[in-house]
Every structure is written in structure tokens, then in C-alpha cells.
């Protein structure tokens, strides 16, 4: 059966080549039947990769250890949930997942009814199919998930215990949907350049794709952070690991993209910039994958295969050359007819936000590749660690946050000083008041986090004021009550107000990041049985270690009642799990969380059969707001892009050329 799965991949590869060629020849020769056949080919590729993927899932679940991939990532006693998730635990499977998603997305685009009149559609398909050809080539040559042993191993090696977490289901899938999702707007952009139809049609058609892909990329990053927080046992959620950065960089450029396309939709400006941003975002999704697959990094994420790495690098170079050539060749079509009328306008604030995002992306990119460059040039790997990234990105992201507050308050085209004064007075006053209060109330007088909270308070107020004023104006104009006006305001302008809800989510995220980064408390303490650990208002007493069996694995844990200011909160149960077929034990942290803070306990080591044990204890303030912000972000995005009334671009006006 593995041969059939492989055959499906080979057929998918050949059909992709046929379909791409069919679209090119069919378009040039105006051959309707050939174009339809090529479209059928797209569906066939989606069908074939689906068959391959389902077969791989079947092999994983049934424990077919003759298949090397199944042997490498599963074992008999692995729960079915993780057997399924092993699909993307290794290089070969995750590349198959990529190819599967890509082929399904391509089929959705090719068969989209409302796109059938679009002259660029065959070219969109060609670009997407070129991507499929590359991934399928990888799968049938350097990274075959169905490669077999000559013999039947009695048992599989099992899944890396660090990957045995519910995060394994959500983090890779969401990230991959985000990555692959950006291939679609990229393909439309390329088709626009090929057909020389460079107006905002490609942007309008792909806006939902872009925003939803962005949402998944955001979720992928957040789930990764949450997973790292509960699994890796170092007390944090973001370490500026190169592979974390690899998914953060396209997030930054795609965030810039989904904002700057609004300027083109409204003002017919920034054409070149938008093409550049989508090209860069797409290439960065490939680059991120290259970093993980190539083996140039050593990380919890990295599963190296140098052949795959070389092929990735070659493909990135080809796509870069192709897109840059098209941009240069069509440069004369990309000149903007409109110019910025004022620096005090919504569009200039968008532009500044774009520059900050791209600046941050460049800084993270440079910090990520610098060790590789230094190793290649000088033979010495220079480490670029968290302080560099924090120092460079902290101020940039804070400025970006500030702009997020400024932007809703100013109009398109230009704003007057009076408008600014009227609109900024309350939010700015309130934010400064929050700053003063925090300065006097908090025992920690550091200015930087207080500045961070002032900015978040400012943004929060401006967004809430925007909702309040909007509802009030609508209420006055229509005579409806305030609540009805607020509801109608939001539902009839879902795109705009969904965006504001996303911004609210980002504000909550920022509150969580500032709180947990600047005000965290840590303690490492070795205690004997009966001794107490105290940190801040928390206390707990060590009662010795216990153990229990979990299938073939052994769990060693401590159970300690936790008190906050003398009030019982619950038991902390930090543990280590020893696996039957893995040398390293896995650390299970114990988190007693609230909206105020997390009390986070790690069992580090023990001696004398548990008579003494060492614990790492953290207080991570406000961290829950990060996750709440993440969910708000999803709600806002879905609210904004859900099809139907109110989801389209809001009304637009401009001076000069309406």
C-alpha cells in the first residue's frame, strides 16, 4: 500500500507539470478544452495528495513500522492522538502536509465561481502549481514519507516527548495554513504582473485569503508560544529561537501588507510597495521552512536534511529572481498617480506603521541569519541572543502600538491640528493619568514598562472612544438607541470594526507581554521534605516525591498545596515523565493561573530518592491576557472577513479624483 501512496505522489507531480503547461499553452492558444483539462489536473493533484495524506495517517495509526517515517515518529503505545499528529512531526510528513494544503487551496482557487471571468486565473494556477511541483519533487526524491525498510522492526522509536503536547495538533497546522495561505495572494500578484493588470483587483480578490492567512500565522505563533510556556520548562514563551523568528518575520511583513493594501484600495497608491511586501512575505514563508528543513540550525524545531535544504535554497532563489524580474519589467505600470496630501493623515500613519513593521522584520531577519553568515564567512558562529532582539524590537513595537492608537483618530487625506487636539485630548490625558497612578502605586519604578502601559492605555482608550463616538453619532443621525446604533455600526462596517477588535486583541497581548517580561519574579530553591518555598505572596511546602505509571512511562511528581497570602489556591503538581523509549525525561510544569498572574512551578532535579528536591518557581504577571488577546484577535478577524453585508471595503472618498 505504501507503493500506492508513493505512486499517488508521483502522479500528482506529473499531473502538476501537465496542468501548469496546460494553462500556459491553453492561454496562449485560446484552447478552452485544454484549459478545462488543466483545471481538472488541479483537482486531480488535490485528490492525489489527499489520498497520499490519508494513507500516511492510516499507516501512522495502524503502526506500520516497515515505513521508515512511521518507525521514526511513532510507537505501539503512543496515544492515537499523537500518532495522528506524527503526520507533521518530521520533515517528510510536514512537507506532505504543505503539498496537501497547497493543492487543496489551488483547487479552491481554480474552481472558485466568481473568479472564472478573471483573465489572470490561469496564471494564478500556474504560479501555485509551480509551488506544488517543487514540493512534490521534494517528496518523491529527497523526502519520501513512504520509504520502507527491507525488514519489519518490532517497535517504533516513538515521538519525541517534547512534541507530546496538545500544542502539537494546533501549532504546526495553524502555522502551515498561514504559510501556505500566503502563496495564494502571491500567485494573484504574480498573475497581475504577468497579465499587466496591476490595479487593485488582485488585492480585492485576495484580501480575505491574506487576512485569514495572517490570522492563522498569528495563531501559529501564539500556540507555539503557549506550548513553549507549558512544555519547555524554562518559564517563558518566546526565546528568539531562530525558528520562532522564522515564523515571526513573515508575520511582521504580512501585517504590514494587510494594512498597506488598504491604501491601494482607497487611494490607488503604494502599488510597488504592496507587490514587494507580498513577494517578501511569500519568500519568507519559504525561508522559514528552509531554516527548519535544511539542518543549518540546531533547535527544538529543526530536523535537518541538507539535500532538502539545498533544493529549498534553489527554489527560493528561482522564485526571487522570477518575481523581481517581473517587478522590474512592469515597473512602468506601477507608478502611483496619487501622492500623500499630508503627513497628518490616516494613510501616512499606515505608511509609518509599515516602515516600523518592515524595520522590525529586517532587524529580526538580520539577527537570525547573522550567526549563519558569520559562520559561512569567518568560520565562527557568533550568537545573537535575546537581549539584541529585545533592545531593537522593543522600541519599534512600542512605536507601532502607539500608531495603532493614533490611526483610528485621524481622517484619510489630512487632519487638522484642531481635530487632533479634540480627538487626542481624552485618550492622552487618561493614558498619562494611568502612567502617574502606576508610577506611584507600583513598587517597581522602572520607566520603560510604565511607558508601555501608558501607550497601551492610550490605544485602548482611543479604540473604545471610536466605538463610543461612532455609536453616538449614528444614534443622533438615525434616532436609534445607543445600543442598537453600536450594533448596527459594527455589523454594517464589519471590516473596520472587526479590525478594531483585532487591535484590542493586540493591546491585550501587549499588556501580557509587558507584564510578564518586566515584572516576573523567579526563584530556584532546593528544599528537604517539610521545608517551605516562598515567593512574593505565595508559599508551598514540599512533601516528597511520588510516582505513578502512565502506560509504559513513569511519572515522578511532587504534590504541594499552594497558598496566596495564606489563602489556599490549589495544588501545584510539577512532574517529570520518564519514557520507555527516550533517554531524556520530559518536564511537566504546574501552572496555577489567574487574570492577575501565573504561579509557575518546575521540578528541576532531586537527590536521595526525593528527600531533597530543587524547584524553579516563577510569578508571571498578566500573562493570561496574552492568550485572551489571541482569542479576541481571532474573533475580530472572523467578524471582519465573514462573507456578507458589511464585509466589503467601507465607503471611500478622496479629494481631486473621486
Amino acid at each position: 500500500m505504501a507503493d500506492v501512496a508513493y505512486l499517488a505522489l508521483v502522479l500528482a507531480f506529473l499531473t502538476s507539470i501537465y496542468a501548469a503547461a496546460g494553462f500556459v499553452v491553453g492561454t496562449k492558444s485560446n484552447n478552452y478544452r485544454l484549459l478545462q483539462s488543466a483545471r481538472g489536473g488541479v483537482l486531480a493533484v488535490a485528490f492525489l495528495t489527499t489520498i497520499s495524506s490519508l494513507l500516511l495517517i492510516y499507516f501512522l495509526l495502524s503502526g506500520n513500522f516497515t515505513i521508515k517515517y512511521v518507525y521514526s515518529y511513532t510507537s505501539t503505545h503512543l496515544p492515537a492522538f499523537y500518532k495522528f499528529a506524527a503526520f507533521w512531526a518530521g520533515n517528510d510528513g510536514s512537507l506532505l502536509l504543505w503539498a496537501w494544503l497547497l493543492s487543496v487551496f489551488t483547487a479552491i482557487v481554480a474552481y472558485s465561481r466568481r473568479l472564472q471571468e478573471d483573465a489572470g486565473l490561469p496564471w494564478v494556477n500556474v504560479v501555485l502549481l509551480v509551488n506544488s511541483i517543487f514540493f512534490l519533487l521534494l517528496l518523491i526524491t529527497a523526502s519520501n514519507p513512504f520509504a520502507r525498510f527491507d525488514h519489519i522492526p518490532a517497535e517504533g522509536r516513538g515521538l519525541n516527548p517534547m512534541l507530546q503536547n496538545p500544542g502539537m495538533l494546533f501549532h504546526p497546522i495553524t502555522l502551515f495554513i498561514g504559510y501556505v495561505g500566503f502563496a495564494v495572494p502571491f500567485a494573484f500578484a504574480m498573475a497581475a504582473l504577468i497579465t499587466k493588470k496591476v490595479d487593485d483587483t488582485w488585492i480585492k480578490v485576495t484580501r480575505r485569503w491574506s487576512v485569514v492567512a495572517w490570522m492563522f500565522l498569528t495563531l501559529g505563533n501564539l500556540y507555539g508560544a503557549q506550548w513553549a510556556y507549558v512544555e519547555l520548562g524554562w518559564g517563558g514563551y518566546w526565546a528568539w529561537d531562530p525558528v520562532e523568528n522564522a515564523s515571526f518575520i513573515p508575520w511582521l511583513t504580512s501585517t504590514a501588507f494587510i494594512h498597506s493594501i488598504m491604501i491601494q484600495e482607497r487611494k490607488n497608491m503604494l502599488k510597488t510597495w504592496n507587490f514587494s511586501l507580498i513577494i517578501v512575505t511569500y519568500l519568507l514563508t519559504l525561508f522559514g521552512t528552509f531554516l527548519v528543513r535544511s539542518g543549518v540550525l540546531t533547535s527544538v524545531h529543526a530536523f535537518g536534511n541538507s539535500t532538502v535544504g539545498d533544493m529549498f535554497l534553489a527554489f527560493i532563489a528561482i522564485m526571487l529572481a522570477f518575481s523581481v524580474f517581473l517587478m522590474i519589467d512592469r515597473a512602468h505600470l506601477l507608478t502611483d498617480k496619487q501622492e500623500l496630501q499630508s503627513y497628518l493623515s490616516k494613510e501616512s500613519s499606515f505608511l509609518l506603521n509599515n516602515l516600523l513593521l518592515v524595520g522590525s522584520a529586517f532587524a529580526v531577519f538580520w539577527g537570525t541569519v547573522f550567526p549563519l553568515v558569520s559562520e559561512a564567512v569567518r568560520g565562527v558562529r557568533v550568537t545573537v541572543s535575546a537581549p539584541f532582539f529585545n533592545q531593537v524590537n522593543g522600541p519599534i513595537l512600542l512605536a507601532m502600538l502607539f500608531l495603532m492608537g493614533v490611526c483610528p483618530l485621524i481622517a484619510w487625506q489630512r487632519s487638522s491640528a484642531k481635530n487632533l487636539r479634540d480627538n487626542f485630548l481624552w485618550p492622552m490625558g487618561l493614558a498619562l493619568l494611568v502612567g502617574f497612578l502606576l508610577y506611584f502605586v507600583l513598587p517597581d519604578k522602572r520607566l520603560l514598562p510604565i511607558l508601555g502601559f501608558v501607550v497601551t492605555a492610550f490605544v485602548l482608550t482611543t479604540i473604545l472612544v471610536e466605538f463610543f463616538r461612532g455609536a453616538r453619532v449614528r444614534s443622533k443621525l438615525t434616532g436609534d438607541g445607543f445600543v442598537i446604533s453600536l450594533g448596527r455600526l459594527m455589523f454594517r462596517n464589519r471590516r473596520r470594526y472587526g479590525g478594531y477588535v483585532v487591535h484590542l486583541g493586540i493591546v491585550l497581548l501587549a499588556i501580557g507581554i509587558i507584564g510578564s517580561s518586566f515584572y516576573k519574579e523567579e526563584l530556584v530553591k532546593t528544599v528537604a521534605i517539610g521545608e517551605e518555598i516562598r515567593l512574593g505572596p505565595y508559599s508551598m511546602t514540599y512533601n516528597g516525591l511520588q510516582n505513578r505509571d502512565q502506560g509504559p512511562n513513569v511519572v515522578v511528581f511532587a504534590q504541594m498545596p499552594v497558598f496566596r497570602n495564606g489563602k489556599y489556591l490549589g495544588d501545584a503538581v510539577p512532574a517529570k515523565i520518564f519514557f520507555e523509549n527516550w533517554e531524556q525525561p520530559r518536564t511537566e510544569v504546574s501552572v496555577l493561573g489567574s487574570l492577575r498572574e501565573d504561579f509557575y512551578v518546575i521540578l528541576s532535579t532531586w537527590e536521595s530518592f526525593g528527600k531533597e528536591a530543587t524547584f524553579k518557581v516563577h510569578i508571571n504577571p498578566l500573562i493570561a491576557w496574552m492568550w485572551i488577546g489571541g482569542y479576541l484577535l481571532i474573533i475580530g478577524t472572523l467578524f471582519a472577513v465573514w462573507p456578507g453585508r458589511g464585509a466589503d471595503l467601507g465607503p471611500k472618498y478622496m479629494r481631486g479624483r473621486p
Binding site: Y32, S37, R39, G40, A44, G470, R474
Partner: protein
Amino acid sequence: MEIGALLLGAVIVGVTLYLVAEPFIFAEPGQPRGQVSKAKEETLEQKKEALFSALGEIEFDYRMGKLSDEDYKELQAVYRPQAVALLHQEDKAPVPAREKGGKIALTQPRKDLTDIEREIEAEVAAEVRRLKQQSSRGKKS
């Protein structure tokens, strides 16, 4: 190779061949739709919707305090005459160009216009009627 694998192999090859070959066997050699780039003309109704939406947003932004008096007046001076002209044009247009069912938009506003836009549309419509009355009075005199 087991029977199941052979059958599945036959199915995947068969389905692939069918999807690719089907248009050559069954499809009419029709117009390649993907080839035709029809720059769809904006209909009168779409123009009207865009224009009244813009007027609605100008009104809304002004009342939200984002537009100065000067900018508001300037933008009104640009958009209102266009709206008046469009409603004039719509009055002259043959029935099918109007709302479905032959109802004139002035008396039967589009359902998807917001209340604010409807209010503006009514105002502009009143302006159109006033201008018409003036011109008919001018002709009579």
C-alpha cells in the same frame, strides 16, 4: 501486491485520467472564459452606491470630529453635485436601468444603503426636485 492496493492504484490512476481527459471528451469547444477579460462597466446603481457611501462617510467622519469644517465643505462641494447629476441621469435612464421591478430608486431606496446614506440620498433627491422645479419655472416664464 495485495488486491486492495491494486484496486486503490487503479482508482487513483483512473480518477486522474478522467479529470484530465474529461474536457476533451465531453466539453464543448466553447469560449475560454478564463481568457475573456471583460472590464465590467460600473453600473449606474454601483456608481450611486459608491457615491452615497462616500457622502455617508464624509458626514460620519465630520460628525466624529475627524474632518475640519473647511475639509467637510470642500468634500461636500465635490461629491454632492456628482450625486445630483447621477440622480438626474437615473431619472432619464430607461426603466430596466433602475431598480428591479421598475421602481425608481428615489422613491424606493436600496435596502443595502445605510440609514445615513438614505438620509443623504433623500436630501440630494430633494435638491434634484428643487432644481427641476426651478428649470420648469424658467421654461414657463
